[in-house]
């Protein structure tokens, strides 16, 4: 590990100004759950770490007239255990509660969960100079790709690792971003980057910016998050579904379906959503939506199983919304 300078910022603005000084060689440290692994594996070698994890003004959960505001440095445990989130923004509480392990959720923050880097074993392996690290090709294409993307792939086939991102997108969340020129807002959905657009990053946050808040509009939807993993704890999703349905009895007025673990970004299943809109939900309709969600999937050699798996999870998520 290369020596680095460590700075503890006292305020978001101070953090941004530290970042701005040497933005190409500076990294943000919040919970450290992802960053420390990248440091230890020497995937990144920053000269400076700016810690924002101690900034109290980034740690809050507030409800303003139904709008949910969460400070970016709020831990996943706090989100998972929050009564109002469990009741009215269930998909988010569900997602936060299945990230990593209890220790990781106690340290890991919401902002960090959105900004984390992929878990692809080629990307994480020191010995692989893959596309994402400036190499010439994606090893997963002809290599071992059981855990890789079936949607949004090429030229790189990582899966986006976040559990909270699909949940927040299903709830139409916005992020507040602070940079040297002040703050801006963006729908979270628009923040993620396909590898064909930029293979070196997954989220459009500039190196001199930090997420300060996640804002979720008042929610009238029934919502759930289903994460499927091989290990029941401390494992990444092979496929996951965030569903938020605005219901009138069993009729669906509007649906949001976002997939995790199967695509290079949190993947909005738009065809499946429009299939549900205005219709009475039945098991067969839910299954049709499952089919529609993966209609564009292109499997690699070892991950075709993700297609039937995701179909089933979409159906289950929709039916769970109805039955809850």
């Amino acid at each position: 590990m290369k020596p680095f300078e460590y700075i503890q910022a006292d305020s978001p603005n101070e953090a941004v100004s530290f970042l701005n000084e040497e933005m190409d060689t500076t990294k943000i440290l919040a919970g450290g759950m992802d960053l420390l692994t990248e440091l230890k594996e020497e995937i990144i070698e920053p000269k400076r770490l700016v810690s924002i994890g101690e900034i109290e003004s980034l740690q809050y959960i507030r409800l303003d007239n139904g709008t949910l505001r969460i400070g970016a440095a709020t831990t996943l445990t706090e989100i998972a255990n929050h009564k109002a989130i469990q009741e009215s923004f269930t998909v988010l509480a569900d997602a936060a509660s299945v990230v990593g392990s209890p220790q990781i959720r106690n340290r890991g923050t919401l902002g960090g969960n959105l900004c984390q880097r992929p878990r692809c074993w080629y990307y994480r392996g020191e010995a692989y100079h893959c596309l994402k690290k400036g190499g010439d090709f994606c090893y997963a294409v002809s290599g071992r790709n059981k855990y890789h993307a079936i949607l949004g792939g090429a030229p790189c086939f990582i899966v986006h690792p976040s559990d909270c991102a699909p949940a927040l997108i299903a709830l139409s969340a916005k992020v507040h971003i602070l940079g040297p020129d002040g703050s801006r807002e963006a729908p979270l959905e628009e923040c993620f980057v396909l590898p064909e657009d930029d293979v070196f990053r997954e989220i459009k946050i500039e190196p001199n910016e930090i997420i300060t808040e996640v804002e979720i509009p008042p929610n009238r939807c029934k919502s759930v998050y289903i994460k499927f993993r091989e290990k029941d704890d401390f494992d990444w999703s092979l496929s996951s579904v965030a569903a938020a349905l605005e219901l009138d009895g069993s009729r669906c007025k509007k649906a949001s379906l976002v997939l995790g673990g199967v695509a290079t970004i949190p993947w909005r299943a738009k065809e499946a959503e429009s299939l549900l809109a205005g219709k009475t939900i039945t098991e067969s309709l839910a299954l049709e939506a499952g089919e529609a969600a993966v209609v564009d999937a292109i499997p690699l050699d070892e991950n075709a199983y993700k297609i039937p798996l995701t179909k089933a999870l979409v159906k289950q998520a929709i039916m769970n919304c109805i039955n809850h």
Binding site: W121, Y122, G143, K231, D232, Y305, L309, L313
Partner: protein, 749 residues
């Protein structure tokens, strides 16, 4: 001089009287009808339970010595490469670096796999050692590799050894299989595959070496402290080191599973560098090297052919297998085929296939879980072809020797688990969640051996008792088993007893923790020592009471005269009558006379129930019932947890663990605890251990090895259960969701 002893042996439902002679100062075996005060009857916590729970127990990893230096390895990143040159000039200048040494014969040789050990860097801190290790410049010439069974067996595959990638066949044979298949009415043939599992010990391999003058002390994470001490003395013989000047200490172990025998090249180099530097050096493997180089359980691809008469009687059993141990090593899956079911004609033809990956090491019951998985799956499929219940097919053929304990245990477990009924109910299930049951049987053989251990017993005048043997506790709770044996023999509370082990300076030969030998080797020697010490105590007390020593006994920590109820004192008072510093005796493992029906074997049967989610392909193991004997159970609590641990390791091999090798680079992709997936607590099934005492006068406690046998049948039982649930056999473990979904798509379209 000898005397006659008589004991009721066997198990409760099938006993027989053994009468034989033992030396005068040795006990006879404990009979099945003995009223045991603690052995196998009472739960006694591990003697080190509090230390372990509070973190006070020091594992090798925790040892810190004054002025200690830290070491890190330089390893090869390629799956196969010629090491042309190693340049340490820059690394030598790095902060904190004290010494850099190459492993023997590295330059000019081929690194056969990723993780190949090149050099050791010693520095003031571990971080400095690791940073400097990155600065060692190794010049490699990459060579073509083979990474799996198929590529290794290709006609134009690069040869990784001059003899080729496939070893000569190892053939083991009974009877005439061709004749056996001719006699068969029905034949089943199928190919069954198992994965490579790495040992993944929580504590990685490693040691601390410290010289004091010409004496060497090592703290070593090892299953065999005597082998380590002898290995180091051997390595430094030219420098004048001998075994009596070599001390190996292993007080607590973070797992071994067969991977931690011997001083190893890294241990010898660590000691050499400590000697040169005149300071203690600590070298622990990091998780990556641990996974790459410190052993694995070879995969097996077994083609199994079974022949049977209409009534289910087996006539022939043939297995042809390719085991993949890495760049070197070997394995044999044959034992279950010869020991689990009676069949007059058996042939097992095995080959090892070498690939560019770390060498295999012994892994809990080497070869047996693989063989058992293939055999039990094939038995279930044969039963279907015969239109027989798999229970009936097994009962028809199950091996009866030596005390017919196995058929009894199988039926007992099946009954308790309701295997027969559940199996039938599962036919033609529909719906998302489908349940299935499966079973498997197990056999192992270790009852200790003469010379296996010498135990010292001290009875002190304050009533405290100490037993000592040099052997290590691999983590199973050996201290408790030894204290219980001593308390049982002396007739006292376990609280009087302390146990010393894990240190060659105790000077008492003891077994390695391998082959399930510690309890069967050490407890008989310990009982012999306790028996002799008790005789001496009784002699001194009897002299004071003017009675004969034979008239004394001790129960519930009270020493009393059998013929005079007034003469009794509590244990501590009796010990206070001892002269001087008390009594010290040595006990050895004494070979018992051959007794008809006696043998070293233990048996067991396991039954598993699973629920398969047909939408996601996930297998949930609901319950495993494990009937097991270990001869005489000594430490009930620890024996049960041993079974639970073994079954858990079987479950994880059945549904999760697998080493993944990259076909592009030939390197393992998951040498870590993140993507090498091991069962977590949440996913562990209910495990019901059922221990049965099967007494056999093979040694004086009747104890036999337990560590390995309960691991053998679990994966097979679970695979059979999944097949029962789905109505389609899944012939490859681990049974992960992708395999289930693929199988279901093939079956249901």
């Amino acid at each position: 001089m000898t005397r006659k002893v008589s004991a009721l042996v066997g198990y409760k439902q099938n006993t027989t009287r053994a009468e034989y002679e033992v030396p005068d100062n040795e006990p006879g075996v404990w009979g099945i009808d003995r009223n045991f005060s603690v052995a196998g009857t009472k739960n006694v916590p591990r003697l080190d339970a509090v230390e372990k729970a509070t973190g006070k127990a020091k594992y090798t990893y925790d040892i810190k010595r004054p002025r200690m230096l830290h070491a890190a390895l330089v390893t090869c990143p390629y799956s196969r490469a010629l090491v042309k040159n190693v340049d340490i000039s820059e690394a030598k200048q790095a902060p904190g670096v004290q010494l850099i040494e190459l492993f023997e014969n590295v330059v000019g040789q081929e690194a056969k796999c990723a993780g190949w050990k090149i050099a050791v860097v010693v520095a003031e801190t571990l971080q400095q050692a690791r940073d400097a290790a990155k600065k060692v410049k190794v010049e490699y010439e990459e060579r073509p590799f083979v990474h799996d069974l198929e590529t290794a067996m290709d006609n134009d595959a690069p040869e990784i050894h001059s003899g080729g990638n496939v070893s000569k066949a190892n053939i083991r044979e009974n009877g005439d299989v061709e004749k056996g298949f001719q006699e068969a009415d029905v034949i089943h043939e199928g190919t069954y595959s198992t994965q490579v599992q790495t040992h993944s010990c929580l504590e990685t391999h490693g040691c601390i070496a410290e010289w004091n003058g010409d004496e060497l002390t090592v703290w070593f994470s090892t299953q065999a402290i005597w082998i380590v001490a002898r290995g180091l003395a051997d390595a430094f013989r030219k420098e004048g080191l001998t075994v009596n000047k070599t001390r190996c200490i292993t007080q607590h172990m973070g797992g071994g599973f067969g991977s931690k025998f011997g001083a190893e090249d890294f241990g010898i180099l660590c000691a050499r560098m400590a000697k040169k530097l005149g300071r203690p050096v600590k070298l622990m493997m990091d998780r990556t090297v641990e996974a790459l180089m410190m052993g694995n359980k070879p995969s097996a691809k077994m083609t199994i052919k079974l022949g049977a008469k209409r009534d289910g009687t087996l006539t022939a059993l043939y297995v042809k297998t390719y085991n993949v141990p890495g760049y070197t090593g070997s394995d044999s899956v044959s034992s279950p085929f010869f020991n689990h079911y009676d069949c007059p004609n058996i042939k097992c033809e095995e080959r090892n296939v070498f690939i560019n990956a770390g060498a295999s090491r012994a892994f809990r019951a080497p070869g047996c879980p693989q063989g058992s998985f293939g055999l039990e799956m094939a038995m279930d499929e044969l039963a279907q072809k015969l239109n027989l219940h798999p229970f009936d097919l097994r009962v028809k053929n199950i091996s009866g020797n030596p005390l017919k304990a196995l058929p009894y245990e199988f039926k007992l477990g099946a009954d308790r688990f309701q295997y027969k009924e559940k199996y039938n109910n599962n036919a033609s299930q529909k719906g998302r969640f489908r349940r299935g049951v499966g079973c498997g049987i197990t056999h192992w053989s270790n009852a200790g051996w003469p010379g296996g251990a010498i135990v010292r017993c001290n009875i002190f005048p304050d009533g405290s008792v100490e037993f000592a043997n040099s052997c290590q506790d691999i983590g199973t709770g050996t201290r408790a088993a030894l204290a219980i044996t001593g308390a049982e023999e002396l007739g006292i509370d376990v609280g009087f007893v302390d146990v010393s082990l894990g240190d060659t300076n105790l000077g008492l030969p003891g077994p390695y923790s391998g082959g399930s030998s510690v309890t069967p080797c050490v407890t008989p020697a310990l009982r012999s020592a306790a028996y002799k010490a008790k005789q001496r105590l009784f002699k001194q007390v009897a002299a004071k009471w003017n009675v004969s020593a034979e008239d004394l006994d001790c129960k519930n920590s009270v020493v009393f005269c059998k013929s005079d109820a007034d003469k009794k004192v509590n244990w501590a008072e009796a010990c206070a009558m001892l002269s001087g510093d008390g009594v010290v005796t040595l006990g050895e493992y004494v070979e018992s006379p051959k007794f008809p029906g006696s043998g070293g074997s233990v048996f067991g049967a396991q039954f598993a129930e699973v629920e398969v989610d047909t939408e996601t392909g996930k297998v949930k193991v609901l319950k495993v019932t494990a009937v097991q004997d270990c001869g005489k159970t000594i430490a009930k609590n620890q024996a049960e947890t041993q079974i639970i641990g073994a079954v858990t390791q079987g479950v994880t091999s059945a549904i999760l663990e697998t080493r993944v090798i990259d076909n592009v680079t030939g390197r393992p992709l998951n040498p870590n605890m993140e993507s090498y997936k091991i069962l977590c607590g949440k996913q562990s099934p209910e495990i019901e251990p059922i221990l049965l005492d099967v007494i056999d006068p093979v040694n004086v406690t009747g104890a036999k090895g337990l560590g390995e046998p309960p691991y053998i049948p679990t994966a097979g039982a679970i695979a059979c259960a999944v097949s029962n649930a789905l109505g389609v056999p899944i012939r490859e473990i681990p049974i992960t969701p992708d395999k289930v979904l693929t199988a279901l798509q093939e079956k249901e379209g």
